[in-house]
């Protein structure tokens, strides 16, 4: 009886496992439509879409009045979200009538993030800023916030569009994909093989970037070979272990590693350094400049792609204030964000921060975050 149950369970597991293997070209990408940029440097066309965000119901009129805002990032305690938090605090101070607080889980866990949001909704905040661990799982609690008249603006990692009013996108997804893949192709050549270290396969921004990278690579660097994507959940030790496993598993075949999170890239660079393969395995990824300075100085890493997360937090705070004050309405084409000037609104309800920025040996020492 026991044995039959076990065999049945195993069989079901294997069957469903193989059924699930069907889909996307690279593991870790989502299956939303992609829009790769041109292979040369022709800029992409900004897509004009009607507004597709959600609106709060019964939001009180707080134009010019003091509001309380809570920022719930994916997790607290890593350099990237410390930087966005700093930007939010800076904007709150400049605006003068915002009381902003950052609180969140200590692990990039969606269950805990939902509980945090739920508690803050009950405590009656006026605005929520978030970076989602999972775009669909976070939607019910954000919709609950909207239904209670709380303004919701996302940054860094989106939710489903109808669960928030606006989303501040650090850079166009296809722009980041182009920058990363072009940098990797320059370093490892047109037929090099690479692997990817990401956070989890369902984290919205990483999944979007990977899907766009797959599309761009198929279009412009078709002979490059994708080996594997591994999950490292924004955890330092896990990222290092996963990168080391990749190096040991593929040996000489592995020519490059993509780090998709600001934790994975320095950990992968460290793994490459400790394996003695500096210069033989290229590391290209998203990371904060401070974390990468030692590797860039040693020429282990040639380029780091990012944007300014302090500006990202800063912009998100200004967008939220504009939404609360009624200055930013659905259908708007741009929004004023303090010292950043006018930011474009693309894709219906996304506020675009700007193009991605590549840090190299020449300019990385000018930045401190």
């Amino acid at each position: 009886m026991m044995r039959k149950v076990m065999v049945l369970a195993f069989g079901l597991a294997l069957a469903s496992g193989s059924a699930a293997l069907a889909d996307s070209p690279w593991t870790g990408g989502d299956n939303l439509p992609t829009n790769p940029l041109a292979c040369d440097n022709t800029p992409g066309v900004a897509v004009a879409k009607p507004y597709d965000g959600g609106q709060p119901t019964g939001a009180p009129d707080l134009k010019g009045k003091k509001i309380t805002v809570v920022d719930v990032p994916k997790l607290i305690g890593i350099g990237y979200f410390n930087a966005t938090s700093k930007g939010i605090a800076e904007a709150a101070k400049e605006l003068g009538n915002v009381d902003a607080k950052t609180d969140g889980p200590t692990k990039a866990n969606i269950d805990e993030q939902i509980t945090f949001l739920d508690n803050y909704i009950t405590s009656g905040v006026n605005g929520i800023l978030f970076a989602a661990n999972d775009p669909v799982a976070i939607a019910p609690v954000l919709k609950k916030a909207l239904s209670k008249g709380i303004h919701v603006v996302g940054y860094d990692a989106n939710s489903t569009p109808d669960a928030r009013e606006w989303f501040v996108n650090q850079a166009e997804f296809n722009g980041i994909a182009k920058a990363m893949v072009d940098d990797m192709a320059k370093e490892i050549g047109e037929d090099g093989a690479f692997a990817i270290v990401t956070s989890t396969f369902t984290t919205p921004n990483q999944a979007r970037w990977i899907a766009e990278m797959a599309a761009y690579q198929a279009k412009c660097h078709p002979k490059m070979k994708w080996l594997e994507t591994v999950e490292a959940q924004e955890d330092n030790i896990l990222s290092f272990n996963q990168a080391t496993t990749l190096i040991n598993k593929y040996g000489d075949e592995l020519k490059g590693i993509f780090g998709m999170t600001s934790v994975a890239t320095p950990a992968s660079a460290e793994a490459v350094t400790q394996a003695g393969k500096c210069g033989k395995i290229a590391v290209v990824g998203l990371a904060t400049p401070n974390a990468m300075k030692p590797y860039v100085a040693k020429d282990c890493v040639k380029s780091v792609v990012l944007w300014n997360p302090i500006d990202l937090g800063y912009a998100a705070m200004y967008v939220l204030r504009a939404a609360v004050d009624g200055d930013l309405k659905p259908g708007a084409k741009s929004v004023k964000a303090g010292k950043l000037g006018e930011l474009q609104i693309v894709n219906g309800s996304e506020v675009l921060l700007g193009p991605p920025f590549t840090f190299t040996k020449d300019n990385i020492n000018n930045f401190d975050f």
Binding site: L12, S16, G124
Partner: protein, 317 residues
């Protein structure tokens, strides 16, 4: 003399009830929004998953064992629900039942390892914690399943007569568990196994069968909690339920169940659960940040156990 008298008057559950009342009063004072019906019902909704899993966990710990794999069974059932419905195309109610049954099978496997192979429950369930989590991640290939029909969300996000659906389920199952543990022969068997397993065996009680049932139920109810959770967050992910076992065991131990077995009640677990949830919520509402809340819960757990030990009649843990 005074200690003995106090010990007679104050069972652990009474101490806990007073602690809960005290905590509620303090937290209500800190924030006006804490003691509102809206908030309390919402907290009931949020604690349903941990609450459901802590009911059979009480049975498990009373037998002197432990089940560390509930979080992984939770994750596995959540993923299998998505796989059964989306990839294998089963009708959603069938998929839900199948996911719960797989949880039961996983729990039975725990029971087999503990009874047949005589592996200590701590080691056995530590191993299956890794096994089931690995299965969940492997099967899911980390893709999440979305797009469930609307009626499915009534379970996790809906209400019946103004009370959240899962809270009704929790109340019914708590009552059932309390009756089974306190008033049936099976309950007596469970206590006997925890108090002295050899004596129970030699008294002719079906010790192995009772343990299998208890571990099987633990897996079954963990899977049920997973189905409710998927309904609440409308998606499935392979990392769901990580760390659930710690919350569940905290609730059970806070409720006065001895980790060595032989002592414990469902009402104690229910009080412990309520205290934990009240603190997590109340502290967050009074402005304490996430890390502070965890510290306070740890302190309260130690304080409750110490207090109960000080006042207990014979000083046993």
């Amino acid at each position: 003399m005074v200690r003995a008298a106090l010990g007679r008057a104050f069972r652990h559950e009474t101490v806990l009830a007073l602690l809960l009342a005290g905590a509620l009063a303090v937290l209500a004072g800190q924030s006006g929004r804490f003691l509102t019906a809206d908030n309390l019902l919402n907290q009931g909704r949020l604690m349903a998953e941990v609450g459901l899993a802590s009911l059979p966990m009480t049975f498990v710990i009373v037998t002197g064992g432990i089940d560390l794999s509930v979080g992984s069974i939770f994750g596995l059932a959540a993923i299998l629900l998505g796989v059964f419905w989306h990839d294998l195309g089963l009708w959603l109610p069938i998929a839900m039942v199948a996911a719960v049954l797989v949880g039961g099978a996983a729990g039975l496997l725990n029971g087999v390892i503990v009874t047949r192979f005589r592996v200590p429950p701590l080691i056995a369930t530590l191993a299956t914690l890794a096994l089931y989590r690995g299965l969940a991640e492997g099967i899911s290939q980390a893709r999440s399943v979305r797009g469930y029909p609307d009626w499915f969300f009534v379970l996790g996000q809906g209400e019946v007569l103004g009370v959240p659906t899962q809270l009704w389920l929790l109340l019914v199952l708590t009552a059932a568990a309390a009756i089974v543990l306190g008033l049936t022969t099976f309950g007596r068997t469970v206590y006997a196994i925890g108090a002295n397993e050899t004596a129970a065996r030699f008294s002719g009680l079906a010790v192995d069968r009772a343990k299998m049932v208890v571990y099987g139920c633990s897996g079954l109810v963990a899977a049920l909690a997973a189905v409710i959770f998927v309904s609440r967050v409308s998606t499935t992910r392979s990392d769901m339920g990580t760390g659930l076992e710690l919350d569940v065991i905290t609730a059970v131990v806070l409720g006065g169940t001895s980790i060595f077995g032989g002592r414990g009640t469902i009402i104690g677990t229910a009080l412990g659960l309520a205290l934990m949830q009240a603190m997590k919520n109340g502290l967050a509402l009074s402005g304490v940040k996430g890390d502070g809340t965890i510290v306070v819960i740890g302190i309260v757990l130690i304080a409750a156990i110490l207090l109960s030990n000080l006042l207990s009649r014979d000083g046993n843990a």
